[in-house]
Symmetry: C2
Subunit: 277 residues, 2 copies
């Protein structure tokens, strides 16, 4: 968050979620904005947009091992509001989450949709990006690249696009993992970029073996899959001798901090690592 | 919130704030969106916009007697982001509130800014709009119409515009009032409209005496002052024999529900009561 992140009060903006202790509970809070033409396609089904808006915020809670308490919506009226409401209904029911409040505005220009999700931590300390240690192993809950294929199918008007349109928030996996992980985050902007961020936050170097990363694309597009976002798998580290309590793939190991935060098959990857905001 | 308000999960949208019990605490949550050209003037000082965005949400918390815990910001980049940050810093420092998180997006079109404010109730049950009873007296914490004069001064480029640019959230008043009020809300959309909403929510009729309403405008503009918004005074009802624990003016009494929710000097007011979203 340019400019704002330098503000002493704005430290929370560097991470996806804020954690706030309140009485006997720890609250986990996240806010994301989707903009038409940037985060979703103009003309995309508003029901899918509603799904994505909610699911991506819940995914942030999943990465904190948090149980959702509800969401607040900042809704800019669009071309088919009833269809948005239908999708909102579907995603809220699917995750058993309440719409606690929000507001509606009319405005010209691309549709801007904001959502705040609120959860309670199921385990404390709440996992962050900053706990990976030398000797940990790096894990991911499932393949990357499915959303990339889904977007291409949607743009082509042909083929399976669910992974792009209706991402899943891995809440149950996050709850199961929270007591054991040394660090955790959801992969929203590309595996290489997000892994690099986690390594930087933890002051370590991540060494990832390309071939061990599960991908949803053909092998020829492995590199795209590792740099594409929107899959919302959980990326986490566990002490070296721990197995994952949920199905997951070990994709590398954590070293002491070297010259580069990320090594791919032993070398710093070149080019764009993912989707930079 | 058209469409959404009919959703069973969307009941919270009918009120300004959501209240959520969590452990030993009650959380109070509100989300408001400001749109350039609708809620603030194009070209208005971004520092003032930041102030208003935060203060209006904190005002919602004030009306619930809630103590702010922090805010989350959905920020669409504008023409002078450092100036926005300066105003944000100022308002957060003024109220001692933390920026917990949020995100930044770039988009064409008018600037859309969303803010979620989170607080903890200082008194339970948390005051709502729906508790006014026959025999209560109706109170307001201060004059209406100052923001109207401020807007006019700002548009004219001459005169005192602080009341419009930098509204105050009456947090201390809200905390002091919460244990005693039968209903409370902040006046954001015009006194007559908001009073009518409170009466409807409480299933009663409010009888307001025009002359007893404190106004910041000349007497000739009393009618404007009663219908204009943006002043963020607290409107509340107390049992008939109670005096207000904070400086406030008694402006009327509560009757059993009659044919109209609101009477002004004994008659239902005609015309537009305030700012309808």
């Amino acid at each position: 968050m340019r400019g704002l992140a330098t503000h002493p009060a704005a430290r929370g903006l560097a991470d996806d979620c804020a954690v706030l202790d309140l009485g006997s509970e720890s609250l986990v809070l996240t806010h994301d904005t989707l903009v038409e033409g940037i985060h979703f396609l103009p003309g995309q089904d508003p029901a899918d947009v509603a799904w994505k808006l909610v699911a991506t915020n819940l995914s942030d809670l999943a990465a904190k091992g948090a149980e959702p308490l509800g969401v607040l919506l900042g809704y800019q009226l669009g071309t088919d509001d009833p269809r948005f409401v239908a999708g909102l209904d579907e995603v809220l029911s699917h995750y058993g989450v309440s719409l606690l409040g929000g507001d509606t505005v009319g405005a010209a220009g691309p549709q801007v949709l904001g959502l705040t999700a609120l959860g309670r931590a199921t385990h404390r300390p709440v996992p962050s990006r900053a706990g990976s240690r030398h000797g940990d192993r790096i894990w991911i809950t499932g393949p990357v690249g499915a959303a990339l294929l889904g977007l291409e199918a949607l743009q082509a008007g042909d083929g399976e696009s669910t992974a792009y349109r209706r991402p899943q928030a891995l809440l149950a996996q996050g709850w199961a993992l929270a007591p054991f992980v040394t660090a955790m985050m959801d992969v929203s902007d590309g595996l290489l970029l997000d892994a690099s961020r986690m390594a930087l936050a933890s002051c370590v170097t991540f060494a990832i073996e390309q071939a061990s990363v599960p991908i949803a694309t053909p092998e020829a597009r492995r590199d795209d899959a590792l740099r594409w976002g929107d899959d919302y798998q959980l990326l986490f580290t566990l002490p070296g001798n721990h197995e994952s309590p949920v199905p997951a793939n070990c994709i590398g190991i954590v070293h002491e901090r070297g010259p580069a935060p990320l090594l791919l098959d032993g070398k710093p990857p070149s080019g764009k690592l993912g989707y930079e905001h």
